[in-house]
């Protein structure tokens, strides 16, 4: 089977999977208890008010009609209007997506760099005290409860020491100041990003460190490392230029997948740090039965993950022709 045919087959599969995901999402939200209007009304409102609200959201239609509208809308690129915001959900998500990508992509890349760097050292100095310390430290950090750590970070660095803003992504005082230029605004975002970034790095780098350490230990047993030593190369060169690049491959795979999943944000991180990302919207939309917003958010995640899988599959097929058959 040629590469083109392989890609076409995968594309067809992805379209089918996407359709299944769309349907499952639609059904799941309708099966969930409660309706979107239940939490918007109070006894001061008449049943007529509640009926009008249902009507305005299109929830008075039979389920199959709603489903057909939903399919038609998705097919035409219209993801619907949020019940609560009254805005197209695509606009809401596009507004939030860059914030999530900025924070989580940076966090994953920096965590991976730190993890690879420390994992390399730990493996190189295996069974020494520094290896034990790093391994235990990585396990400890990896199991920290993120909201707790986030609150401690805020209390210490933002409230007690006062180095960082307490939460949020931007400071009103900077953004309402007409004299504030792009540099000041960029620095303001970086300033707000520092604490959530530090928190994410602390809780994420450990897993990369452990993967890198394990991979590096395997790599160090390979023949080409012995050959490198036999050639008389110095230890630093062997470690950094021969062993580490090969050992880092599993970390790269892990980072790739993490990046794909990072668009769902971290609801906990975004909530505690008041970071206006996708994760917070996802939680809000599910808890408030905002069907269009929740469906669109999950669809977005599905699309990115499916695309990431496609890219990986195509790359593998390109590199290893046996996979195409």
């Amino acid at each position: 089977m040629g590469l083109r045919r392989f890609v076409l087959r995968r594309l067809v599969e992805i379209v089918v999977i996407f359709f299944v995901i769309m349907t499952v999402l639609f059904v799941l939200f309708r099966l969930a208890p409660g309706d979107p209007v239940a939490r918007m009304v109070d006894p001061s409102m008449t049943p007529e008010d509640a009926r009008l609200l249902m009507e305005s959201m299109g929830l008075d239609q039979p389920l199959w009609t709603q489903y057909l509208y939903y399919l038609k809308n998705v097919a035409t690129g219209n993801l619907g209007i949020s019940f609560h915001y009254g805005e197209p959900v695509s606009r809401i998500l596009m507004n939030r997506l860059p914030n999530t990508i900025l924070l989580f992509t940076t966090a994953i890349v920096l965590s991976a760099l730190l993890g690879v760097f420390l994992g390399k050292i730990a493996a190189w100095r295996r069974e020494e005290r520094i290896d034990t310390l790093m391994t235990i430290g990585a396990l400890f950090c990896n199991t920290l409860f993120l909201p707790w750590l986030a609150l401690i970070m805020i209390w210490f660095f933002a409230y007690w020491v006062g180095w960082f803003p307490i939460t949020g992504m931007i400071s009103p005082q900077v953004w309402i100041d007409p004299s504030a230029g792009p540099i000041r605004k960029t620095l303001d975002v970086l300033h707000h990003m520092a604490l959530p970034l530090m928190t994410l790095i602390v809780t994420h780098f450990g897993s990369y460190l452990l993967v890198m350490r394990s991979s590096m230990l395997d790599t160090l047993k390979d023949d080409y490392i012995i050959t490198a030593r036999a050639k008389g190369l110095d230890e630093k060169t062997i470690r950094d230029h021969h062993a580490a690049p090969n050992a880092a491959l599993p970390v790269v795979t892990s980072v790739g997948l993490s990046l794909a999943f990072s668009i769902n944000g971290g609801a906990l991180t975004e909530t505690v740090f008041s970071w206006p990302g996708i994760g917070r919207e996802l939680v809000f939309s599910v808890s408030h039965s905002d069907y269009p917003l929740a469906q669109a958010a999950f669809l977005l995640i599905a699309i990115v993950v499916l695309m990431a899988n496609l890219v990986v599959d195509v790359l593998y097929a390109y590199l290893d022709p046996r996979i195409r058959y």
Binding site: D42, E48, A50, H84, P165
Partner: protein, 573 residues
């Protein structure tokens, strides 16, 4: 060497970022900074149903009348005086105050008439029922509006007249565009408002989604420098910034640090000692217009028996719930109308179990049930009249009482209701009842209770009830005993229905009050709901920044406060 240079560059960048913290103190005395627990969802006044959107919109769009903070009577706001009622023509005449919209154009009776027309044409949810009985609106001159009613309707003043008025010039275009669509109402509700034009004390400057809402003082606000309700109104500061905080913990830290001047959300009891000790923070405690209650399913045994419901009412120790569960931050309730709603709350109602000792409450409950034919394998009182753990209560027909559940919201949604459910479970078990408190997701609870009527008992609450007691009618009228109807308990009483129907069309407030009192007496007698508590609202502000907060029902976050607070440093100058 290269490594060191890289390190230096990184360190310099870090220092620069850290340095921003020192140079970004935001303490301009003419800017009030308010923390919100959630972001406002919309600036479309017809869509806004969430409390945070209303906190912004209530400063932009204004009604004809607002509530007096002390008496809770209506006072003229955009109106110049109280309306004149003509029973012969069933009409109200309202004279308007000279006012301007924030874009400088004059506010006239055309705007009021247009608002009425828009609500009626589109049947705008939340407002349509308050305007459905208006036959027509006349505007004899730019400062006079006459509302003709189809039938007498008691909620005209408290419902219709507190509706926000929108600008004809701005909304007629939007309405026209919406009418041209397939779904006009949906198009109207989903219209994106970017620069709403209002008559309120503030106007929108910018809204950074997910971060803050920035308002500026409206130079055309009709109240500035005027004496309304005995107060000379401001606003006395130039700008208002709402910031969003994901959790209360972080908002409280921001308040303590001085990053915000007020946290416009209820402060939980756990924070109060800490905040109380802070010399620059002031706490305000106020009543709410709320109702937290235990409801029963009257459609099926065992709670179709009023005697059993009265026995349960005796067993609920409201003092314990208020003092321990709410930690003193609330009051006991005996009517479905909060006691703080002074005009409408009936006070001569039975207070089941109130002020009784534990022994007395159990003794009375036991006697009530025993007289009605209930029996026990082991009764709650021994031969000497001492309390003992009861076992296996039996219904009057001799069958053992089946296990029943008390549905509550989960503790992470509302710990007070969840713990109250557990306490009530234990009190009922002591009388031999097989009670089981069951926390469940709020949406599931609503579906089970309101939609499916599949429950025995539940604990729910309404945190922001309107002051008009129309909701008493909605909650217990037999016409609302239907899936998704408000009569969740299935209470059916023709006498109550008749009183409720009369109350809604009684135009004399004193006469209507008598009817509403009688409705409350019936509910207190038949107990489809047992009112339990009304929590206080506790709010925190920085005392070193602004002063002059106006306390009223629902707290200090209100239009009066924002028209009257002054920066501390400028006060008296």
């Amino acid at each position: 060497m290269v490594g060191w240079n890289r390190f230096h560059r990184l360190a310099a960048l870090l220092l620069m970022v850290l340095g921003l913290g020192a140079c970004q103190e935001f303490d301009r005395s003419d800017v009030l900074r308010i923390g919100l627990a959630e972001e406002p969802r919309t600036l479309n006044v017809w869509l806004a149903g969430d409390v945070n959107s209303r906190k912004v919109l209530s400063l932009i769009y204004q009604p004809l009348y607002v509530y007096d903070p002390e008496t809770m009577d209506l006072v003229p706001w955009l109106a110049a005086a109280m309306p004149e009622y003509d029973p012969r023509t069933l009409s109200y005449t309202v004279r308007l105050r000279p006012a301007r919209w924030s874009d400088g154009t004059p506010f006239t009776s055309q705007d009021v008439a247009f608002t009425a027309h828009l609500i009626q044409t589109f049947k705008v949810p939340r407002y349509a029922s308050s305007w459905s009985f208006i036959d027509r609106v006349q505007t004899p001159d730019p400062h006079t509006v006459i509302f003709y009613l189809q039938q007498p309707m008691a909620t005209f003043l408290t419902g219709t007249m507190v509706t926000p008025i929108v600008q004809h010039k701005e909304w007629s275009v939007i309405a026209e565009q919406a009418q041209a669509t397939e779904k006009p109402l949906t198009a109207l509700l989903n219209h994106r408002m970017q620069h709403p034009v209002g008559t309120g004390p503030f106007t929108l400057e910018q809204w950074r989604k997910g971060a803050f809402v920035h308002l500026k003082r409206n130079p055309h606000f009709f109240g500035t420098g005027q004496t309304i309700n005995g107060q000379v109104l401001g606003p006395f500061f130039e700008e208002l910034v709402y910031s969003v905080f994901g959790t209360s913990d972080v908002a409280i830290l921001a308040l303590k640090k001085g990053s915000i001047d007020m946290f416009w959300w209820h402060v939980q009891p756990g924070y109060m000692d800490d905040l109380d000790r802070h010399e620059r923070i002031q706490l305000f405690t106020n009543e709410k217009s709320a109702l937290y209650f235990m409801g029963f399913n009257l459609r099926q045994p065992p709670f179709n028996d009023v005697v059993l419901r009265r026995a349960v009412a005796h067993l609920i120790d409201k003092d314990f719930i208020v003092s321990r569960v709410l930690q003193g931050q609330g009051g006991k309730m005996f009517s479905v109308v909060p006691a703080e709603n002074v005009f409408w709350c009936c006070t001569d109602l039975p207070r089941y179990g109130d002020g009784m000792s534990r022994e007395s409450r159990y003794s009375v409950a036991y006697q009530l049930l025993a007289e009605a034919g209930y029996t026990w394998a082991v009764p709650p009182l021994d031969a000497a009249g001492n309390l003992q753990p009861a076992r296996e209560i039996r219904l009057p027909d001799g069958r053992p009482m089946a296990r029943f559940t008390i549905l509550t919201p989960p503790a992470d949604y509302d710990p007070h209701r969840a713990i109250s459910g557990l306490m009530i479970q234990e009190w009922l078990r002591e009388l031999g009842m097989p009670a089981f408190s069951r926390p469940m997701a709020f949406s599931s609870l609503l579906q089970q209770v309101k939609d499916n009527h599949d429950f025995d008992a539940f604990i729910l609450g309404y945190g922001r009830l309107r002051l008009d007691p129309e909701y008493v009618r909605n909650l217990f009228h037999s016409a609302n005993d239907q899936p998704r109807g408000w009569n969740m308990s299935g209470y059916r009483n023709p006498v109550f229905d008749e009183l409720a129907d009369r109350s809604i069309s009684e135009m004399d407030p004193l006469e209507r009050r008598e009817l509403v009192f009688e409705m409350q007496r019936l509910i207190a007698r038949d107990l489809p709901f047992i009112p339990i508590y009304n929590p206080h609202v506790v709010e925190a502000v920085r005392r070193d920044r602004f002063e002059g907060w106006v306390e009223m029902l629902e707290g200090i976050g209100n239009i009066w406060s924002l028209c009257l607070v002054k920066p501390v440093a400028r006060h008296g100058t």
